[in-house]
Point group: C2
Chain length 226, copies 2
């Protein structure tokens, strides 16, 4: 499957790497490919520069947001939440329309110090804002509730005995997403309903961040026990 | 131990009933005991009128918020979140000062329809508002992330293999709370730190409410898998 992954950070790398490994035809998108490849330093999250990752993944091309989105039958928003709407605008409605758009970003606001708050929450969500801005895209919110390693390899924790959520307005888009998630190893997937449920999953981030501090690891996840 | 439980709804009944069963000396508090005992109808959540519960629990007295709080070495805020600050004001700072104050309420706002949003969240929390309003109380936020049955009987789900959170500014108050929780059967208790972490646990409610709809039961809980 042709997939465009928007975002070159740890999350974008994890998704693009796993999808390419599974035989998908992956193009990663960024604002300015030359600038991204010129960066020599680690990013703010401690990830190695993208060019190192790219050298290890020669089959994954780096193009503009627009080119990567146009390439994909499925498009993954793996940009930082604060930059997502702008990145998607650069991708353009024409390149997103009719596509399954996996939104795995979180609207974290680091501007008021640590731990971050959410820039949108409670009565709205980033997932809804994206769906509203790109009504022809089939937005599915998922994978935003655990770290990048677990997103694509849930079996690395407790044999995969923990939970992933999906929500979105389009049934077929959610089915396709669920298929991808199962391919990653997700066993417990809960469909919460329409995209307004992104409020619920994005609002998991405040406790996720606090738990990362308390547990001193990002290798944990929520399991819904029922 | 002398315990005052503020609130006569399903949560107050569950807590007061369990604590009395464990041999504690429990007084339940309400705004107007005569009015509470005069109610003959089920409440908005479908709970039987308090007088039926009271008849089945003759050792638990019903008094005013102030009397119940004054009675307790430990005070439990089991009122509705939207009414908590007012109930605690009626209890009075003198009756709360120096006490362990378990805050198990959630700031649910039903005024904009279902599902409810939170009346405070993200950059503040009900737990913090209570601590700020009653600085001499030792507020511990806990038990707000599951239904009333599981609060006092976690073993009723998956043998208790799920998680409870505590947070608060006073170490000894959290230790005492943890002791009570263990007495209820809680095995996995995570101390998130100070009372600002109530933002994290209260923000679990939006997904909790959505999961209750999706799963068609309130008998579920979060487990932190690590």
């Amino acid at each position: 499957v042709k997939i465009g992954v928007l975002g070159t950070g740890g999350v974008g790398q994890a998704l693009a790497g796993k999808l390419a490994e599974q035989g998908h035809d992956v193009v990663v998108g960024t604002r300015d490919p030359k600038a991204t490849l010129a960066k020599a330093d680690k990013d703010g999250m401690g990830n190695a520069p993208y060019k190192d990752w790219a050298a290890a993944h020669p089959r994954v091309a780096l193009k503009t947001y627009r080119e990567a989105a146009a390439h994909g039958e499925i498009v993954v928003n793996a940009t930082s939440g604060h930059a997502s709407l702008e990145a998607l605008r650069l991708a353009g409605e024409a390149a997103l329309g009719g596509k399954v758009l996996l939104d795995i970003a979180n609207p974290l606001d680091f501007s008021k110090g640590m731990p971050p708050s959410l820039s949108v929450s409670n009565t709205d969500s980033l997932g809804e804002q994206i769906q509203k801005a790109f009504p022809a895209a089939k937005v599915v919110k998922t994978l935003n509730t655990c770290n990048a390693v677990l997103m694509v390899n849930p079996g690395a924790l407790a044999g995969g005995d923990h939970t992933m959520f999906v929500c979105g307005n389009d049934r077929a888009a959610k089915d396709r997403t669920t298929e991808l998630l199962k391919g990653f190893g997700w066993k417990h997937i809960i469909d919460l309903g329409d995209i307004t449920n992104a409020r619920g999953t994005e609002m998991l981030l405040p406790i996720w961040i606090r738990l990362m501090g308390t547990l001193q690891t990002a290798m944990f996840n929520f399991k819904i026990v029922k």
